[in-house]
């Protein structure tokens, strides 16, 4: 990692390194000895690139238990979310202009909805329970006859909270609303069976599970009324839903990522659970420390903790050489306290003291133990330095 050997990365929810097998597949799809031909070309080399892409689609479809034809390649989950939300809203605008989502969604979901709200759509923002979960009754109450689209993410990127997408999807089917799921954080980490789930649109991205950055996909269910209008135009690629030269090396890398994840999912899950539990057990007795979200309904790859009376940015610096996140990695340049944590009911100070630890395949017990030490020291040191709260 970078020029400093000493950094310790515990930010796998922000991004991950690619696996060696992924790198090799990518290399073979772009170098002079590999399949660099444009997959749109009809000559032998182009057709071979196409076969590689079909193979990658089959692997990704296998991971999600769907058909390769159901997947549209995009540049990442941000584009997938936009294509799903803007594309479905525009395709189905005759049905109505009511949309439902949650306050704790990623910006890649909330921002397209906000954009629609500026353009004559009516968006209902559901609040989570204090543990981050959606109460289905709230969703059912919010549903109207003109509700055309509901979007709720699978695993929250800040807290790891896992929503019950099967139940939410069922509620949507009952009322004839499409259901979109941002699965950027769960794809390849939790079992997702699209053949079985009542999900119409699902966004995924490779770089959150050991694949390359800049490649994602949108799943579009093969069901009447499920369709999106394209956002980009030009060329005939991908049934005109998403034009542009298919980036062979990216797609092939994504396919390999999916194949590895399918094989390793249980092992990975057991490993990150162990890491998460070890970390929590090591810091849970720190006075004023609390889990944001929920441990038992949370994805164990993420542990988000706040602590009373400690300033977040200083805690982060005290945690060095650890690379961990506050707020979401995707909008962490802003100094504002996380809107996700605020939606869970946290005040500014608690939200700002939040640290998101996220674990990955390379995480070791030694790293966790060192993280525990640093966290405890940091909290203690900063508390010593803090004046009593002025009355």
């Amino acid at each position: 990692m970078t020029d400093s050997e000493s950094m310790i990365y515990l930010d796998y929810a922000a991004s991950t390194p690619v696996e060696q097998g992924v790198l090799e597949a990518m290399t073979a799809a772009m170098t002079i000895d590999g399949n660099y031909a444009n997959p749109s070309s009809t000559h032998a080399a182009g057709l071979y690139s196409n076969v590689l892409i079909a193979d990658a689609a089959a692997k990704l479809a296998g991971l999600l238990n769907t058909q390769p034809e159901r997947l549209i390649w995009t540049s990442g989950a941000t584009e997938s979310d936009n294509l799903a939300i803007l594309g479905a809203a525009s395709y189905r605008k005759d049905r109505g202009r009511h949309l439902i989502s949650m306050r704790t969604e990623h910006k890649a979901v909330t921002d397209p909805f906000s954009e629609l709200a500026k353009n004559g759509y009516d968006v209902t923002w559901l609040d989570p329970e204090p543990d981050g979960l959606l109460d289905i009754a709230r969703l059912e109450d919010a549903m109207r006859d003109d509700t055309q689209l509901v979007s709720v993410m699978h695993v929250n990127n800040e807290t790891g909270v896992i929503q019950d997408i099967a139940a939410i999807g069922a509620a949507c089917r009952d009322r004839g609303a499409l259901f979109h799921v941002d699965a950027a954080q769960s794809c390849g980490k939790l079992p997702v069976d699209l053949d079985d789930l009542p999900v119409d649109l699902m966004s995924i991205t490779a770089h959150k599970f050991y694949g390359p950055k800049g490649i994602g996909a949108l799943y579009i269910a093969d069901r009447k009324g499920v369709h999106v209008e394209p956002l980009l135009f030009g060329g005939g690629q991908q049934r005109r839903l998403r034009p542009g030269t298919l980036p062979t090396q990216q797609i092939v890398g994504f396919g390999e990522t999916a194949a590895i994840a399918a094989a390793r999912m249980h092992e990975d899950f057991a490993h990150i659970t162990q890491m998460r539990d070890r970390l929590w057990n090591g810091i849970r007795d720190v006075p004023g420390v609390r889990v944001n979200g929920t441990l038992d309904k949370g994805f164990p790859g993420i542990l988000n903790v706040s602590v009373e009376d400690v300033e977040g940015e200083s805690l982060l610096l005290a945690m060095e050489p650890f690379c961990v996140a506050t707020g979401s990695a995707c909008n962490s340049k802003s100094q504002e306290p996380s809107y996700v944590l605020r939606a869970l009911g946290l005040g500014d100070d608690l939200a700002q003291s939040a640290i998101r630890f996220s674990f990955g395949r390379p995480t070791t017990e030694a790293e966790i133990d060192f993280a525990i030490e640093r966290y405890r020291q940091g909290v203690a040191r900063l508390r010593e330095m803090a004046p009593g709260r002025a009355a």
Binding site: D309, E311, E313, S314, L317, Q335, D348, D349, L382, E384, M385, A386, P387, R389, A390
Partner: protein, 126 residues
């Protein structure tokens, strides 16, 4: 584009804030502003600041600035506290624009401390 939001000075001051702490029975101010908290302590003998200490709840720049202030002003004339300006620190610590407001909180605290010290010296004289 710089790699590091913290200059080496900030890092060094934050890592080893030798002046962090309180002094009992010293001149003291406490400020709670913009979500930040600062307390400053000063002892003065023979017209000279003999010790400065701080407590702070805030970002690393604030802590570093408080530490730098304490280090720099020990040994000086207490009257200088009243003229303290944070602009030098902002520059030497490369404080980013969006954080300058926080360092101004420190400036306020230092000037208040100057007043407290002046009042105390006056009281002694009286």
């Amino acid at each position: 584009m710089s790699t590091d939001p913290y200059s080496p000075e900030v890092r060094a001051l934050f890592a080893d804030p030798a002046h962090a702490g309180a002094i009992d029975d010293a001149c003291c101010v406490e400020l709670d502003d913009q979500g930040l908290r600062i307390a400053l302590y000063a002892t003065v003998e023979d017209g000279t600041i003999t010790a400065l200490r701080f407590l702070a709840w805030g970002c690393p720049h604030l802590i570093a600035a408080a530490e730098a202030f304490c280090r720099d002003y020990e040994g000086r004339d207490p009257g200088q506290l009243l003229e303290f300006s944070s602009s030098g620190l902002m520059q030497s610590l490369s404080v980013p624009v969006e954080k300058t407001g926080r360092i101004l909180v420190l400036e306020d605290a230092v000037r208040s401390l100057g007043n407290v010290v002046r009042e105390a010296l006056k009281a002694q004289e009286d």
